[in-house]
Amino acid sequence: MIASTRLVVPLSEVPPGERAWVHSFHAGRVIENRLASLGFTPGVAVEIVQNYGRGPLIVTVRGTRVALGRGEAAKILVERSEQDDDQIS
C-alpha cells in the first residue's frame, strides 16, 4: 500500500515545489465549505508554490492558485511521500 509510505503533516510544513495530497481538515464549517468549493477535497493533489516558513503561502489546487493564511494552512492535513526526507522542523 502506498498509504503506509506516506506521512501526514500540516500543509504549512510542506516545502515549496513539493506535491502533497489532501488528507483531511478541521477548520469550522464555513471555512471547510469554502475550502471544499475551491477544490480542496480528500485525495486531491496540492502543489506548494510558495512557502517561506512564515506568513501566508501559495498553493495550486485543481489548476487554480490559492493563497492561504498560515493558520488556515496549518489546519489542512496532507500526505507527503516519504522519500522526501528533507522535513522541516
Binding site: 471555512i31 471544499a36 477535497t41 487554480t64 492558485r65 488556515e72
Partner: protein, 679 residues
C-alpha cells in the same frame, strides 16, 4: 416566517410580464470575467445599487435582444451556492425566488474544473442554463485545449466559447440565449447524481421535511443543503419543523457530520467525468507568465518593494495631476461661480448672499474639488484590481495586517486613506468578509489624509520651527498607532477577536480592460457625487448658518456660543473657545480650521495669523490641537460614505463616538504631557 423569507422582493419587473421581455441572471465565480460580459451587454445602460438589506453591490441593466427587452441582473460572484457568504446567499435566493427565465453561467476555460463547481450546483436547482465558456484565449496561452461541443454533450446544456474581454463569441452567446428563450432549443441538463451511499440518507431527510417546506425550495435541494451543513437552510428547517421531526433530522445530520466533504467530492468526481473528454490537451508543466511574475510580486521582500513603488507612483500622480487640477477647480470654477452669484445677488439681503455664495457654492466647491483626487484613486484601484495585482498586494501585506485581526485585503483601502479617506472607505468593497470590512471602514479615518496634513503643515512650522518635520512625523506615527490600537480593541469588542480566514484565489494576470475600469470609475464617482454630495451640501449650508446666525458675526454666532458652552471640555486639551470653534468648523472640510481661525483672530493676510497664534497659544496647546485634528471625527464627505458603505446610522454613531473619545483622550494626554515636559 423564517429568515429565509425576510428578504424584501427585489426590484419589481418593470418591463411587464413575459412575452416581449425576459429576465436573465448572470452567475459565476469571482474572476471569471462575468462583469466584463455584463458591461459589454449593457454598456452605460445599467443601474448600480445595493441588494436590499445587504452591503453587496447589485448591478442590473437592460439590452435589446432581437426585439426582446432583456432585463439582466449581475449576481455577485460566488464560489458555490452554500451559505458561506452574503454573495452566495444572494445568488441562490435570486434564482430560487425571482425565477429568472434563464441563467447565464460564466465559467473560465483556464480554470474549468473549479468553475464547473458552481455549474454543478446551478444544474441541481433546475434553472434553465446557458454556459459562457470564457477566457478561451487565456486557456490557449496556458496550453489547455477544450472542445466546447463535447462539454455541451456531457452537461446537456448549451456551451458557447467566448473571450468577453475581446467581445469575441458574445454574438454566438446571444444567439443561443435567444433560441432558448424562444423555446427553439430546450436544454436537457444532466445534474450530478447523488452517490449511492448518500442517496438513502438524503431520501430519509427528504421524507421528513417535504410536507413542511415553503413553496420555492425544492425538497431534494433543501435535503442536500442540510447534509452540507448550510447554516441558513439548517436555521430555516429548525424553525419550520415540529420539534420531534427536527430532532430526528438533527440526529441523521449528526451521524453524517462529514457528509459535506462527500458531497463536494461527489461534485468534483462528476466534474472530472465532464471535463475528461472535453479537454483534449491538458495544462502542460510549463511555467506561465503568472508564475514568473509572482516570483517577484508575491516575494516577501521584493513584493513589498514593488508595492511601495506602485503606491509611490499613485501618490506622485495625485500630486502632479490631481492637486493642480483641484486648485484650478477651486479658483477658476468655484471662484467664477461665486463671482457670478455675488454679482447677481448684489441687490439681495446680505444673508441670502452669504447663504448662497459661502454656504451653497462653498459646499458644491468642496464636492467638486474632491473629484480629481478621487478619480485618480478610483482609477488606480480599478486598474490594480483588473490586472490581478490586488491579490498580490493583499498577500504580501497579510503578515502586518494580522496585528489588527485583519488580513491583507484591508491594506490597500487603508493606504488610499493617506490621499483621502473617502476612496479608502469606498475601497473596502474588495474585502469579502463583512466583519473585516466593517472594521476597516471604522478605522480608515485614522489614516491622516492630505487635508489634515495641510492643517499640520500650516501650524507646525509656526510653533516648532525647524523641529516641525519631527512633529509632523510624530503626529503621523501617533495616528497610525491609534489606528492599530483601535483596530485591535474594536476587533476584541465587536468581533470577539476572531480573525476572518485568509483564503484567496490568486487570479491569473491579464491585460487591463479599459471599458471595465472606465465604467467602475464612472460609477464610483457618480455614487459619490449623488449620495455624499447631497449630504455634504446640506451640512455645509447648516454649518454656515450656525456660524452666521443670529446677527451675521462669527464671534457671536450660535457656533461660537456652542464653543463657549463646551469650553470646559476644551480646556482639558488646552483649547480656548476659538480653537474649539475652529475644530467644529473643520467638520465640512478639514482645511476650514485655518480659515476659521483667520476670521476669529480678525486678520486679513494669512502671514499675520501665525504671529497671532503663537502669541495666543503655548506650543503645548498647539501640539494638542494638531493631535485632536488628526484624531477628530472625519470630514463630512467621509461620514457620508461611511453611512453609504456601512449601511446604517448605527455604525456611523459608533464611528463618531470612537473618534470623539479618541480625540479628547489623545488631546488631553498630549497637552498635559507637553506641559509636564515644560512646553
Amino acid at each position: 416566517m423564517t429568515k429565509f423569507h425576510e428578504l424584501p422582493p427585489l426590484a419589481p419587473p418593470q418591463v411587464g410580464s413575459k412575452g416581449g421581455s425576459a429576465l436573465i441572471a448572470l452567475a459565476g465565480q469571482p474572476n471569471m470575467g462575468k462583469s466584463t460580459l455584463f458591461n459589454l451587454l449593457t454598456g452605460l445602460n445599467q443601474h448600480v445599487g445595493n441588494w436590499p438589506g445587504k452591503t453587496v453591490e447589485r448591478r442590473e441593466g437592460r439590452f435589446d435582444l432581437k426585439g426582446r427587452l432583456v432585463r439582466i441582473v449581475d449576481l455577485p460572484g460566488a464560489y458555490s451556492l452554500t451559505a458561506n457568504s452574503p454573495e452566495e446567499i444572494i445568488a441562490r435566493e435570486f434564482i430560487l425566488l425571482e425565477k429568472p427565465d434563464l441563467v447565464i453561467a460564466v465559467v473560465s476555460a483556464a480554470h474549468l474544473e473549479r468553475s464547473l463547481y458552481l455549474v454543478a450546483e446551478l444544474l441541481a436547482l433546475g434553472t434553465p442554463l446557458v454556459i459562457g465558456l470564457n477566457m478561451m484565449d487565456v486557456a490557449e496561452r496556458e496550453g489547455i485545449r477544450i472542445e466546447p461541443h463535447v462539454l455541451e454533450a456531457a452537461l446537456g446544456v448549451p456551451v458557447v466559447p467566448m473571450v468577453a474581454a475581446k467581445a469575441w463569441g458574445v454574438r454566438d452567446l446571444l444567439d443561443v440565449v435567444e433560441e432558448v428563450l424562444a423555446g427553439k432549443r430546450i436544454p436537457t441538463p444532466r445534474p450530478p447524481e447523488i452517490r449511492p451511499d448518500h442517496a438513502r440518507v438524503l431520501s430519509e431527510i427528504q421524507t421528513l421535511i417535504s410536507s413542511y417546506l415553503a413553496h420555492p425550495y425544492p425538497a431534494d435541494w433543501v435535503a442536500l443543503k442540510l447534509l452540507e451543513g448550510d447554516s441558513e437552510v439548517t436555521h430555516m428547517i429548525r424553525e419550520t419543523l415540529p420539534a420531534e421531526k427536527w430532532e430526528r433530522v438533527h440526529e441523521i445530520l449528526r451521524a453524517h457530520d462529514d457528509a459535506f466533504l462527500a458531497v463536494a467530492s461527489g461534485r468534483y468526481e462528476w466534474i472530472g467525468r465532464m471535463v475528461r473528454a472535453a479537454i483534449t490537451r491538458p495544462r502542460v508543466g510549463q511555467i506561465g507568465l503568472t508564475e514568473r511574475l509572482d516570483r517577484w510580486a508575491a516575494h516577501p521582500l521584493w513584493g513589498l518593494l514593488l508595492l511601495a513603488g506602485i503606491l509611490g507612483l499613485v501618490f506622485w500622480l495625485t500630486f502632479t495631476v490631481g492637486t493642480p487640477l483641484q486648485d484650478w477647480l477651486e479658483r477658476a470654477v468655484v471662484g467664477m461661480l461665486a463671482g457670478w452669484a455675488s454679482e447677481a445677488l448684489a441687490g439681495a439681503p446680505f444673508w441670502i448672499q452669504g447663504l448662497i455664495v459661502d454656504g451653497l457654492i462653498g459646499g458644491v466647491g468642496s464636492v467638486l474639488t474632491f473629484l480629481p483626487v478621487l478619480v485618480i484613486f478610483f482609477a488606480a484601484f480599478a486598474l490594480l484590481e483588473d490586472v490581478g495585482y490586488m491579490a498580490r498586494a493583499a498577500y504580501v501585506m497579510d503578515n502586518l495586517m494580522h496585528l489588527m485581526g485583519l488580513h491583507g485585503k484591508s491594506f490597500l483601502p487603508l493606504f488610499l486613506g493617506f490621499g483621502c479617506n473617502v476612496p479608502a472607505v469606498m475601497g473596502t468593497r474588495v474585502i469579502d468578509s463583512w466583519p473585516a470590512r466593517l472594521l476597516t471602514i471604522l478605522i480608515a479615518p485614522l489614516v491622516p489624509c492630505t487635508a489634515r496634513m495641510a492643517v499640520v503643515a500650516f501650524i507646525a512650522p509656526a510653533f516648532f520651527g525647524t523641529n516641525a518635520v519631527w512633529v509632523t512625523w510624530g503626529l503621523v506615527l501617533f495616528s497610525l498607532l491609534a489606528l492599530v490600537l483601535s483596530g485591535t480593541l474594536l476587533n476584541r469588542l465587536l468581533f470577539k477577536g476572531q480573525r476572518s480566514a485568509f483564503i484567496m484565489e490568486m487570479p491569473l494576470y491579464h491585460l487591463p480592460n479599459l471599458r471595465t475600469i472606465g465604467l467602475l470609475v464612472w460609477q464610483r464617482s457618480l455614487a459619490f457625487v449623488k449620495k455624499a454630495g447631497t449630504a455634504i451640501l446640506l451640512m455645509a449650508v447648516l454649518v454656515w448658518l450656525l456660524s452666521y446666525l443670529p446677527n451675521g458675526d462669527l464671534n457671536t454666532s450660535y457656533l461660537a456660543r456652542f464653543g463657549h458652552l463646551i469650553g470646559p471640555l476644551g480646556r482639558w486639551m488646552g483649547f480656548d473657545w476659538r480653537l474649539t470653534v475652529a475644530l467644529l468648523t473643520s467638520f465640512p472640510a478639514k482645511e476650514n480650521a485655518i480659515a476659521t481661525l483667520g476670521i476669529l483672530f480678525g486678520v486679513s493676510p494669512e502671514a499675520g495669523l501665525t504671529d497671532l497664534l503663537t502669541a495666543a497659544y503655548s506650543p503645548a496647546a498647539a501640539l494638542s490641537f494638531l493631535t485632536v485634528t488628526m484624531l477628530f471625527i472625519p470630514c463630512l464627505a467621509t461620514v457620508a460614505v461611511i453611512k453609504q458603505e456601512a449601511g446604517s446610522w448605527r455604525w456611523v454613531a459608533v464611528s463618531l463616538a470612537l473618534f470623539l473619545v479618541l480625540s479628547f483622550l489623545g488631546g488631553a494626554a498630549v497637552y498635559h504631557l507637553a506641559r509636564w515636559v515644560g512646553m
